[in-house]
């Protein structure tokens, strides 16, 4: 793979729009299908209370299978922030946060989410916000939480974020923390998915996930259905394997799909329900990629450079960024967020007893590794 310094990145900023060179990203058609599933998820969430469901607000890693198996509705704080951002509605939420004195340096996801919680709770209730404004309509759709769960790997800010929401709602909503510790990798036997630290931490997170299920049970008054969890996970495991296979196909040149195609497929492995639909979705993605390979079609019209994208996503600029890179003949073929972060080790999930494998997938999130192992993994992907 070429390194960044062989590409004149200044060209990126010289173009006012990605299309200045006339070259646009060639996005996978299948991703259109994917957005239908996403929209359905939001629609279901917005009507959850009418459907008699309790709602969990959560942050952090991809724990929704536990909620789905227990017949709950769930909303991921970051996903909600991204939902607003993609509709360019996050600014007022952030401003609400700032008006209250939240520092601009505070994580913008957190500011959006807290701002949202604030607006929802205060402004709308007190009639300070026009209920007919698009903003109010967007935020009033989000059902209030019956439970709060935080399962943030690595980043301690995450726990404080939910605790802030807990306090905002008057300390009345039950809250639960799953601690997913960093794998520092300092011991002699440390390595990717091995060593005593890995085993101890797997035990620890598994134990907490079982405690979380007990918490869900306690606050719904219903026993936890472990068989249902296995069933949900069977779809997710299938989808995750297909996704990985499809990603592996993209090592050919020109790359048939890009980071930006994978970015819009993140929700499906992050927080969408585990059903046949996500399996079908990744089957379609994989088939389209295979077809493109057969036809020699790439994700950018004229691939000259192949890049790795490290860092977070700017959710309201996905299309714009994809075109920008395409305009300078750069295929962003992989990224930390897309290629290392979600159900990356599906084979670890034993469908008869999925919890430990789930815990281990949460632990292998790359942010959760000390630098040496994480950089090693990025190297491996680039090779």
């Amino acid at each position: 793979m070429r390194t960044v310094d062989t590409l004149d990145l200044t060209k990126l900023s010289q173009h006012n729009t990605g299309t200045a060179s006339g070259k646009k990203a060639n996005r996978l058609k299948a991703t259109k299908l994917g957005s239908v599933i996403v929209n359905d998820y939001w629609a279901d969430l917005f009507s959850a209370k009418e459907a008699g469901k309790k709602v969990v607000w959560y942050n952090g890693t991809y724990i929704p299978p536990f909620f789905q198996a227990h017949d709950l509705a769930w909303v991921h704080g970051e996903a909600w922030s991204a939902y607003l951002a993609a509709r360019h509605e996050e600014q007022p939420a952030q401003r609400a946060g700032e008006d209250r004195g939240y520092d601009r340096e505070l994580c913008s996801y957190a500011r959006t989410h807290i701002g949202q919680a604030l607006l929802d709770k205060v402004k709308l209730a007190e009639g300070q916000l026009d209920p007919q404004s698009p903003r109010a309509i967007a935020i009033s759709k989000l059902p209030a939480p019956d439970m709060l769960i935080n399962a943030y790997p690595y980043c301690s800010s995450g726990q404080q974020w939910d605790e802030t929401i807990y306090r905002l709602y008057g300390k009345k909503i039950p809250i639960f923390n799953v601690s997913i510790p960093l794998l520092w990798g300092g011991r002699q036997d440390a390595g990717y998915m091995r060593g005593t630290e890995w085993e101890e931490r797997s035990d620890y997170v598994e134990m907490q996930l079982r405690a979380m299920a007990a918490f869900l049970s306690e606050h719904t008054g219903r026993p936890y259905d472990w068989d249902r969890l296995s069933e949900v996970m069977s779809f997710i495991k299938k989808a995750a394997i297909l996704r990985k296979e499809a990603m592996d196909l993209c090592s050919v040149s020109p790359a048939p799909a890009s980071f930006f195609d994978w970015i819009v497929s993140i929700a499906h492995v992050n927080f969408l329900p585990g059903t046949q639909r996500i399996v079908d979705y990744f089957e379609a993605v994989k088939a389209e990629i295979q077809q493109r390979i057969a036809d020699g079609v790439g994700a950018v019209p004229n691939e000259k450079y192949r890049l790795f994208f490290d860092g977070m996503m700017n959710w309201n600029k996905i299309g714009w960024l994809a075109d920008k890179f395409a305009a300078v003949d750069a295929a962003v073929v992989a990224g930390r967020y897309t290629h290392m972060s979600f159900w990356q080790e599906p084979e670890l999930v034993d469908l008869k007893n999925p919890v430990r494998g789930m815990a281990q997938n949460y632990l292998v999130c790359p942010n959760n590794h000390g630098a040496p192992i994480m950089i090693g993994e990025i190297d491996r992907i680039c090779d």
Partner: protein, 384 residues
Amino acid sequence: MREILDIFSGIAGDSLGYARAWKERTGRPVIGSFPMHFPSELAHAAGALPVIIQEADEPITDGEAGVFSFYCGYNRSVVDQAMKGRFDFLDAIMFGDHCVQLLGTADVVRWNVPDLKILFNQLISSMNADWAWEEARGAFAQLRKELDELLGKSVTDDALRASITLFNRNRALIRRLYALRNTRRLALSARDMQHVVKSSMVMDRADHTALLEQLVALVEGGAVPRSTGMPVYLSGHLCQAPKLELLDMIEECGTTVVADDLYHGYRFIASDVGDAGDPLDALATWYLQRNRKVPCPTRVDTEADWVEFLLEAVRETGAQGIIVLLAKFCEPHMYHIPEIKEAFDRAGISMLLIETEHDSMPIEAFKTRVETFVEISRRRLVAA
């Protein structure tokens, strides 16, 4: 009395110099530690000098490239010091986390100073989880094991208990100074108080304690006149000590700091460790309990409420206002600022927020704000 305070101030101002000299003199190991949550008793019991790594006063140069500019001054300074080789004489550093930035810093230090031995342990931050005590105990047991291996020792429970007893004595004496200052029987400036606490983070505990015994005896013998400024409470500033000129300026504006929850202050000495029974049990209990005593914004704990604690503390200590010192980019602290502000507004108590920086601070502008704050607080008092 001044002589003792001068010794404290000298060591507080040059912690690494002191530690290096101590090592040369005694031939014993020195173990550095990230601030806030790790009990230094463990390294002490193993015969080492535990030293809490301080933010340095020098400008950040070598470290600039190693770490993001939106990391707090403490983090940037630690990376800078590491890259300048300032920690090379340490036998190891104990790293842990209490914010996302420190985790990054630990990694950057490991990367740039590969020869420095790092003992990394992550303490549970969700304090009222059912397994919090077990986890905390496990982390301390692991740390003890790693220290034993590193130093080729097997620290006995008795040795650990003896260290705990000594540290408890040290903290109790400093708390005595706090009480005397708060009841106006002792004129100890905010600067002096910082020196007392900060030097205790660094100095040989037995030596420090002996000096403290003398100091307390002196003070209790003859009452020293107390300055008469408006009593204020200082809050915040986690890992890093507030700059001395800032503390001086605050008191020069007609205030007297009567109490605080600074890490380089009351937070550090508020809680003792039980010295009977299993010492690791006692340390785990200490870790969870201290957050109830002085809640820490880097932990989550539905049983603790920092804002309520502050309101109560301000009332109890007779402070007429609160000055919150926020280290720029300190994310855990930032989450709480709006709630603190709202609560003090509601309670009708003046609050002033000062955001501090490592490299440069507009002291003159701050001064104007403190003067206004004093003015408003006084007027409030008259009106009440």
